[in-house]
C-alpha cells in the first residue's frame, strides 16, 4: 500500500499518456505515470535491440506532432529535433522509378517524365487538398461535440462546425463530399493517369486500416496527409533525431521537470472503481495507488474491457466498445545493414536514401496485397514504406553501417491459423524477397533482422490486435464517433476515469493531440 495520493494517475507511458501527464503536471497537479514496459513511449520507442543499431521499433516518422505541444512543453529544450524527410522514391518492376523530391520544379519534371498531364494535375490537386486541409484542420484541435446531446455546449459546437463548412466554396464542398465517400483509387483516378503516382499517393489512405485502395472511405485519409503541409516550413513532419523514442523521452523529460513521477515496469492490472467513480489503480504486482482522476492512454478495448470491471459500465457502452473496429493490418521489419540498398532502377547512393522508399508500383499491386489479407493471409508481395534513419541521423547506426525501417502492409491480426514464430519469419522473408527484386544486394547486407507482426505488437507493445492507430481511422470511427458517441470528449461512463489514447479524437499517429485535449478537458472539469 502506498500512502501517496495523486491528483492524476496515467495508465500507460505512451506518447499521448506522457503528453497528458506533462500538461497536468505543468498545471501544478501531482501526477503519476505507470508504464508496463522497461522503456517509455509505447509504440513511440527507440530500442537498441542489436547493439550499436537503434531501431524506431514501431512508429518511425512523426507526421502531425502538434506544434502547440512542441511549444507548450518546450520539447526542443528537452531534446526534440525533427529532421526533414523530403522525398518519396517508388521503384518499379519495369526497371524505372517514380520519385517525388523535396523541390517543386524537380518533382514536376519527374512526374512530367511519366505523364505531362499529371504534372499539371499534381499542382492543382495539391492546391485543392491544401484548401480542404485548411477547412478540416480546426476540427483536429476541437473536442468533438455530441450530436445526440441537446446541451448548449454541444449545439454550439455543431453550429460552429456548420458555419465553418458553409464557408467552403462549392468546388471544395463537392470535393470534401467525394473524399468522405469514395475510395482513394477512384478519387485519384479522377486526377491522374500514372499508376505508380496513384498507388504511392493512395498508400497514405490505407496505412493502418484494414482496407484496400479500392475500398470506399479510404479517400478521406488522403486528406490527413495534407494536414502536415499546411504549416509549410513550420510543419512538424519528418524523422526524429534519435528515433521516435526521442519524442517520448522529450515529453517525459518535460513532465518530470514539472514534477510528474514516472514509473516503468509498473503494469496496471485494474482501475479501482467505487460508487461509480474511479479511485485509483492496482498494479500487476499488487501495489495500489489512489488518485482523484485516472487517465488511460491505452486503446479503447484495453481501457474498458481489461482495466475496468464490466459491472461498472453500462451494457450498451460495453457493446459499443466490443464493436469498435481495431483489426491490425500492418507489421514492421527493422534491419541492421552492412551497406545501403542499391536500387537497380537508380543505382548508387543518392538523395533517395535520405527520403522514403515506397513499394507501391500500382493500384493493382496494392489491391492484390489487400486481397490476400482479406482472406486471412499476409501479403506475399506487400506494400512497404521504408526509410533509412542512419542516412538522416548518423547516430542511429555504427559508422558506415545502416538501419532500415520497413512498415509493411498487409499482415492481418487474425491470420488464418493464427500467428506463430515460423509464420512471423515467413512474413519477414516475404518482405526481404520483395525488396530484393528492386535492390538485389539487400539480403546479403542484412546483419540483424527484427520482425513484428500484429501478434507481436499486441503482446509486446500492448496495442490490441496490433492496430497502430488504437482503432481504425475509418469514417464511422472518427470525430464524435471515436471511440463511441457520447464519450468522444475523453470522458468515460465512470466518473473520474478519462481516456487520452489514439482511440479518441483526432486519432492515430504521433500527434499528441488526444493527450493534450484530454488534459485540457480534465483540468477544466475534474481538477
Amino acid at each position: 500500500m502506498s500512502a501517496s495520493r495523486y491528483d492524476a494517475i496515467i495508465v500507460g507511458g505512451g506518447h499521448n499518456g506522457l503528453v497528458t501527464a506533462a500538461y497536468l503536471a505543468s498545471a501544478r497537479k501531482k501526477v503519476l505515470v505507470l508504464e508496463k514496459r522497461h522503456v517509455l513511449g509505447g509504440a513511440a520507442v527507440t530500442e537498441e535491440i542489436n547493439p550499436g543499431f537503434k531501431y524506431s521499433v514501431c512508429s518511425y516518422v512523426v507526421s502531425l506532432l502538434r506544434p502547440e505541444i512542441i511549444r507548450d512543453l518546450e520539447l526542443p529544450k528537452h531534446g526534440l529535433q525533427i529532421l526533414p524527410l523530403e522525398s518519396t522514391f517508388t521503384p518499379l518492376p519495369n526497371g524505372d522509378y517514380l520519385a517525388r523530391w523535396g523541390d517543386h520544379d524537380q518533382t514536376r519534371r519527374e512526374i512530367y517524365r511519366h505523364s505531362p498531364r499529371d504534372a499539371d494535375a499534381y499542382d492543382d490537386f495539391g492546391k485543392l487538398m491544401y484548401q480542404l486541409a485548411v477547412a478540416v484542420k480546426p476540427i483536429l484541435a476541437m473536442v468533438p461535440p455530441d450530436p445526440t446531446s441537446m446541451s448548449p455546449k454541444d449545439l454550439m459546437g455543431f453550429l460552429r462546425l456548420g458555419k465553418h463548412f458553409r464557408g467552403l466554396g462549392h468546388e471544395q464542398f463537392h470535393a470534401l463530399h467525394k473524399l468522405m465517400t469514395m475510395s482513394s483509387a477512384d478519387y485519384l483516378d479522377e486526377w491522374f493517369e500514372t499508376e505508380a503516382l496513384k498507388a504511392t499517393m493512395s498508400s497514405s489512405g490505407i496505412i493502418g486500416t484494414f482496407l484496400g485502395p479500392r475500398s470506399p472511405g479510404t479517400a478521406y485519409v488522403l486528406l490527413h496527409h495534407y494536414m502536415g503541409e499546411i504549416d509549410g516550413a513550420m510543419r512538424a513532419w519528418g524523422f526524429v533525431k534519435g528515433g521516435t523514442g526521442s519524442v517520448s523521452e522529450s515529453i517525459a523529460s518535460a513532465a518530470r521537470e514539472h514534477g510528474a513521477e514516472i514509473l516503468t515496469e509498473a503494469g496496471v492490472a485494474q482501475v479501482a472503481v467505487k460508487n461509480g467513480k474511479a479511485t485509483g489503480v492496482v498494479l500487476d504486482d499488487g501495489r495500489e495507488y489512489t488518485a482523484s482522476v485516472v487517465v488511460s492512454g491505452l486503446d479503447p478495448k484495453r481501457t474498458f474491457l481489461d482495466l475496468v470491471d464490466a459491472n461498472s459500465l453500462p451494457d450498451d457502452f460495453v457493446r459499443d466498445i466490443e464493436r469498435f473496429k481495431i483489426r491490425g493490418s500492418s507489421g514492421k521489419v527493422n534491419l541492421s545493414l552492412s551497406e545501403l540498398p542499391n536500387f537497380t532502377s537508380k543505382p548508387g547512393v543518392g538523395p533517395l536514401h535520405k527520403g522514403a522508399v515506397s513499394i507501391s508500383p500500382s493500384i493493382d499491386y496494392l489491391e492484390r496485397a489487400y486481397d490476400e489479407a482479406k482472406y486471412g493471409d499476409f501479403s506475399s508481395r506487400p506494400y512497404m514504406d521504408i526509410i533509412m534513419p542512419s542516412m538522416i541521423d548518423a547516430g542511429m547506426a555504427p559508422p558506415g553501417k545502416h538501419v532500415m525501417s520497413i512498415f509493411v502492409q498487409y499482415a492481418p491480426s487474425d491470420l488464418r491459423g493464427g500467428w506463430d514464430e515460423t509464420k512471423r519469419e515467413a512474413f519477414g522473408d516475404a518482405v526481404v524477397d520483395t525488396l530484393a527484386q528492386y535492390a538485389p544486394n539487400l539480403p546479403e547486407a542484412i546483419l540483424h533482422r527484427q520482425v513484428l507482426t500484429p501478434w507481436d505488437i499486441d503482446r509486446d507493445m500492448g496495442l490490441t490486435d496490433g492496430n497502430i492507430f488504437h482503432g481504425e481511422l475509418s469514417l464511422h470511427q472518427l470525430f464524435c464517433m471515436r471511440p463511441t458517441v457520447g464519450h468522444a470528449d475523453y470522458t468515460t461512463p465512470v466518473r473520474g476515469y478519462y481516456q487520452a489514447g489514439s482511440g479518441t479524437h483526432p486519432g492515430g499517429g504521433v500527434t499528441g493531440a488526444s493527450g493534450r485535449l484530454a488534459a485540457l478537458k480534465i483540468l477544466k472539469e475534474a481538477l
Binding site: 520544379d105 524537380q106 514536376r108 505531362p116 498531364r117 504534372a119 494535375a121
Partner: protein, 405 residues
C-alpha cells in the same frame, strides 16, 4: 541541378557574377555583369539579348485549333490573321485570369501559344470532343528576345533584311547564323524588339549570329534584373507577382479578372463564347472592383521624407516585387505589387491595384515607403500603366531611314 537552356554554353561564361535565378525549373541569368545597369541601358539605348527559352510553349494544330483557342482565350481568335500574334490572357469559368501569353497563327489550322505557367491539362480539358492536337513544345523551341532601338538594324544585318518590314505583333521567317528561325515583333520591354524562335539544336548558331551582327550596334546580353525594370516602365504585368493565377489561388480574394489587371482591351465580349465570358459580361456591367494603375511617386515628397532624417532619397536600384500598401489619406485603398526607380524617366514608379473609386487618372494617393526603418507615406499620383511607350515600339520606318547609333 536545375535544367539549363539551349543557350547555356554561351551564357554561362558571360555570367561574370554567377548571378542566377530560377525560372520554370531552368537556370536564368539575373545579371551578367556585377550590376545590371548597363544591361538595362542596352534595352533602352542599343540592344539587349535575353534568353527567354524557359517560357512554356504549346503547339495547337488541327481543324479545331482555332475553335479551341477561341474558346480558351479572351480575344477573338477568328480575327487573328496568318502570321499575326495576339497578346491575350485566359480565364477560368468565373472570369478570373489563369495566365497570359502570346498566341501566334502559324497556318490556317496551326497556332503557337506561350504561357508563364503549365497549361497542357487546361488546354486538353477544353478540347473535349474537338479534332485538335495539343503538343507541349516547351523543350522543342529555344527563344531569344532581341530588344532595344538597334534591334531592327541588327536583324537587318543578321537575317539579311528578313525582318526589315515586320510589323508590330507579326511573324516572319528567316535565317540567322545559317540556321532557320522564326521572328516575331514581340517582347517584354515596351521597346522596339523581336523574339526569335528556333530548334534547340540551332540555339548556339543563332546566338553567335546575333552577337556577331550586333557587336557594332553595342549588343549586350541582359538578365532578368534589367528586364524587370524595363517591364515595369512598360507597364507589363508579371504572373505570380502582379496577379495570382486563378487556379493557384487558395482564397477567392487573390483572384483577379482581366478588367482588374488593365486587360479589358483583350476581352472581346462580342465574339463567340469563351471560358469566363458570362462572368465577364456581368462584371463589365457592374464595373470592376479594382483597377490596375501606375503610380508616379512624388520626388518632392520623397525628398521631404528623407530630408527629415538628413538624407537625400535612397531608392532601390533593382525592381521590387513585394506588396506595398497604397493609401488615400490614412485609409488603405490598394497595394502596389511591382516598382522601381526608372533610370530613364528619373522617376520612382510602381504598378498597383487600386479600388476603383480611387483609381481615376490624376488622383492623389499615398504609398508606403520605409525611411530609415520607419514607415512613411509618400505622395503618389495615379497614372496610366505605360510609363514609357516610345514611338519606335510600333512604328515601321525603313532601316535606311534610321539614323545610325
Amino acid at each position: 541541378m536545375l535544367r539549363t537552356t539551349p543557350f547555356h554554353s554561351r551564357i554561362a561564361p558571360l555570367n561574370l557574377a554567377q548571378n542566377w535565378r530560377r525560372w520554370s525549373g531552368y537556370l536564368a541569368a539575373s545579371a551578367y555583369e556585377f550590376h545590371h545597369n548597363r544591361e538595362y541601358w542596352a534595352i533602352r539605348n542599343s540592344a539587349a539579348m535575353i534568353d527567354v527559352s524557359p517560357l512554356y510553349k504549346y503547339g495547337i494544330e488541327g481543324p479545331d485549333a482555332e475553335r479551341l483557342l477561341d474558346r480558351v482565350v479572351t480575344r477573338d481568335v477568328t480575327k487573328c490573321e496568318l502570321h499575326q500574334v495576339f497578346y491575350t490572357p485566359w480565364c477560368d469559368d468565373d472570369g478570373k485570369v489563369m495566365d497570359d501569353g502570346t498566341l501566334t497563327r502559324l497556318a490556317d489550322d496551326s497556332f503557337r501559344l506561350t504561357s508563364a505557367e503549365p497549361n497542357l491539362r487546361w488546354l486538353q480539358d477544353n478540347a473535349l470532343g474537338m479534332n485538335v492536337g495539343i503538343r507541349d513544345i516547351s523543350d522543342d523551341l529555344a527563344a531569344l528576345a532581341l530588344q532595344g532601338p538597334n534591334a531592327r538594324r541588327i536583324l537587318h544585318d543578321a537575317a539579311d533584311g528578313a525582318a526589315d518590314d515586320l510589323r508590330f505583333f507579326r511573324l516572319t521567317k528567316g535565317e540567322i547564323g545559317g540556321v532557320p528561325v522564326e521572328i516575331t515583333r514581340t517582347g517584354y520591354t515596351g521597346d522596339l524588339g523581336y523574339e526569335i524562335w528556333t530548334d534547340p539544336a540551332n540555339a548556339e548558331a543563332l546566338w553567335d549570329g546575333l552577337m556577331e551582327a550586333g557587336d557594332k550596334h553595342r549588343i549586350l546580353p541582359a538578365g532578368m534584373l534589367a528586364l524587370d525594370v524595363a517591364r515595369v516602365e512598360a507597364g507589363l504585368i508579371l504572373i505570380s507577382v502582379d496577379y495570382v493565377p486563378a487556379h493557384q489561388a487558395v482564397i477567392e480574394g487573390r483572384k483577379s479578372s482581366p478588367f482588374e489587371l488593365g486587360l479589358g482591351w483583350t476581352v472581346k465580349l462580342g465574339g463567340n463564347w469563351f471560358v469566363g465570358r458570362d462572368a465577364l459580361i456581368a462584371e463589365k456591367e457592374r464595373g470592376p472592383e479594382w483597377e490596375f494603375r501606375g503610380l508616379d511617386v512624388s520626388w518632392d515628397s520623397l525628398e521631404a521624407l528623407y530630408g527629415e532624417v538628413g538624407l537625400p532619397p535612397q531608392l532601390p536600384s533593382e525592381g521590387w516585387r513585394t506588396s506595398v500598401p497604397v493609401y488615400s489619406g490614412n485609409t488603405q485603398v490598394g497595394y502596389a505589387t511591382s516598382g522601381c526607380w526608372s533610370p530613364l524617366l528619373k522617376k520612382y514608379i510602381a504598378l498597383a491595384h487600386i479600388q476603383s473609386q480611387y483609381a481615376g487618372i490624376g488622383t492623389n494617393l499615398r504609398v508606403e515607403v520605409t525611411v530609415e526603418h520607419y514607415r512613411k507615406k509618400a505622395a503618389a499620383r495615379v497614372v496610366e500603366t505605360q510609363f514609357f511607350n516610345p514611338e519606335r515600339k510600333r512604328s515601321n520606318p525603313s532601316v535606311a531611314d534610321e539614323v545610325p547609333a
